[in-house]
């Protein structure tokens, strides 16, 4: 799972924040509202409006010069993201093979039909979903609890210290997190089993839990690792959300006699809902498309729970030696489209409703 997913939460959250603010801003013009929010959104709106007006005032700058700035980024983006996707779509409709001189034939939906008839595809999609379901609750519950606790820490040095330590896993590169946890989970010499067997004596060497390597514990173990990795990052998002809630709102509720649980449920939670939505949708996306972890922990054993649609695709394209790249491409497209459908559904379920 890439860090990009996590960071993009940041930006996505910002975006939803803006759209929400500008929407509420229209309402604000009619009614008076909390000072800070009005000031903040007004300044942003004026900046945006200024930008738009300035852009239109000088049509010349909309031309070649402006594109020159955009060109390097767009060249990379098109060359290594847009084109490859369309190329894979095309490949999925052919009997394309790497490194052969044989002509490639258009085969229509044959690859898709083959894939959909393959029970392994359904099993692999289901495994990816299983992992996602194990992983997602941990992106909300623990980070939310931690954020609420850290938000109340009044000592600024301590608050900063907590945040920095929490974010340390987020600056450990992905593969190094997996390597680290491969040791943690190691059957013989890993510290987790050492704790369980030698220190606590709960298990003997014969029946100690086999965390990785295709056992039923594998996916939960990976989900725990992912939550360890993302804990700080998710917490920071909730902290950002909590910081945006005016302090007088929960205070007012307390004065009115609400207990802490009611304050959380009726005041804090609705205001964090947009963050939760972005977190769930984006983390769903990254969890469904996990591949590095599965390759490192599970390999290409078809019976392993780590053999998901991403590994299936990779196996077909690069490992088996059958050179069925067209078939692999169709697996990739089916998996991607399936998860995109669920993401659209999630966005629809969590859509902001009129308050």
């Amino acid at each position: 799972m890439t860090r990009g997913g996590a960071v993009s939460l940041n930006d996505g959250r910002g975006k939803s924040g803006v759209s929400q603010r500008s929407r509420s801003n229209d309402a604000l013009h009619a009614s008076t509202f909390s000072m800070t929010q009005t000031v903040a959104s007004a300044s942003v709106n004026s900046a945006q409006r200024g930008g738009r007006l300035g852009g239109e005032a000088s049509p010349l700058r909309r031309g070649i010069g402006a594109w020159l700035f955009l060109l390097p980024a767009v060249a990379f983006f098109v060359g290594y993201q847009v084109y490859p996707i369309f190329r894979v779509v095309w490949i999925s409709f052919t009997d394309y093979k790497f490194l052969t001189n044989q002509p490639t034939h258009w085969v229509g939906f044959d690859n898709y039909i083959d894939a959909l008839h393959d029970p392994l595809l359904w099993a692999s999609l289901w495994r990816a979903l299983e992992f996602t379901i194990m992983f997602l609750p941990g992106t909300i519950v623990l980070p939310l609890l931690l954020a609420i606790l850290i938000d109340r820490v009044t000592n600024p040095h301590l608050a900063t210290f907590y945040r920095v330590v929490l974010l340390i896993p987020a600056v450990i590169p992905s593969t190094l997190v997996f390597v680290l946890w491969k040791w943690m989970y190691n059957y013989q010499s890993g510290p987790i089993n050492h704790l369980l067997v030698d220190t606590l004596g709960l298990f003997s060497l014969q029946n100690a839990p086999q965390w990785l390597g295709g056992t039923p514990l594998t996916l939960p173990s990976i989900a725990i690792m992912e939550n360890w990795w993302g804990l700080g990052y998710h917490t920071i998002f909730f902290l950002a959300g909590l910081a945006a809630i005016p302090k007088d709102l929960p205070e007012a509720a307390r004065v009115d006699g609400a207990n802490e649980w009611q304050v959380f449920w009726y005041v804090t939670r609705p205001r964090l809902a947009p963050i939760m939505m972005i977190l769930v949708v984006l983390r769903f996306g990254s969890a469904m498309a996990v591949i590095d972890e599965y390759l490192i922990f599970g390999g290409f054993n078809r019976a392993s729970p780590t053999y998901t649609w991403t590994v299936f695709m990779y196996d077909q394209a690069f490992k088996l030696g059958l050179w069925r790249q067209g078939f692999a491409a169709s697996i990739g497209m089916i998996g991607a489209v399936a998860m995109m459908c669920v993401m659209v559904l999630l966005i629809w379920i969590f859509r902001p409703r009129g308050e």
Partner: protein
Amino acid sequence: MTLEAVHRDEFASNPKRGWFERNRSVIIRHAVINFFLLIILLPLAWVLIMSVKTLPDSLRGDFWPRTFDFTHYGYVFQRIKTLPYNLFNSIYVTFFTVLITTVCAVLAGYSLVHLRPRGAGLVATALLVSLYFPVRVVSLISIYETQHFLGLINNTAGLILPYVTLQLAISILIMRSMFQLVPHELIEAARIDGAGPWRTLWLVGLPMVRNGLVVILIVNFVTAWGEYLLCVTLIDDEKARTMPVVLAAAQSGQGQWSWPNIAAVYMIVVAPGIVAFSLAQKLFFKGLMEGALKA
């Protein structure tokens, strides 16, 4: 829910009770936070300690070694022949990836907000959509084809091309939201004073998006430094690979890859990111909050 109990007590402070009673909620709060910090730090501490254990101690499994042995750090570079190459590969691939991505993202973000060429909206939308689509996994097949066409299979420097795009979209969007915080009047004023778009960006824009710059530098460093999938797919030659792939493939117990040796290599690879982040954390958090709260 324990939270409820914790906070109810906080506001029912009674001066007659003891110190512990009065501060119980604060103590519990810090205890819970520190418990999680411990969970985060313990695995890292374990590797750090492992890297300075003697070989027999490393097999015993105890957390604290009986004797310290700092020789592993030197040993891995002298005895594992390919390791210096792998480390050098990682360093230059990461350096150029971060450099190119950052330059692209700054230029693009600036252009999208303050120059607004025709089609800017379309570009921004495409970038946003790409964040939701599993591009990295699905595009692998045709990226292999492209790299093969360019003759870049087993070419370490060739990795830079696909690496740049890994976090490009999000970097551009972060820079875009940072540049939205720069008042357009300021850019306009610089232009009226006779500064071209390049000078305006360099002298006026860039200093104001410094915090966001730190964020995308760190994000891109972390991604490129730890990239596994593309490297393992496009590079077959052990010598041409980067550190993460070597570490992931290292099997324990076999001579040069004994536990303390792997741990030492691990610490060498993981330390730069943590140190850089700890030093830049102030700017990083500012950038994060500016980007995150944006409104």
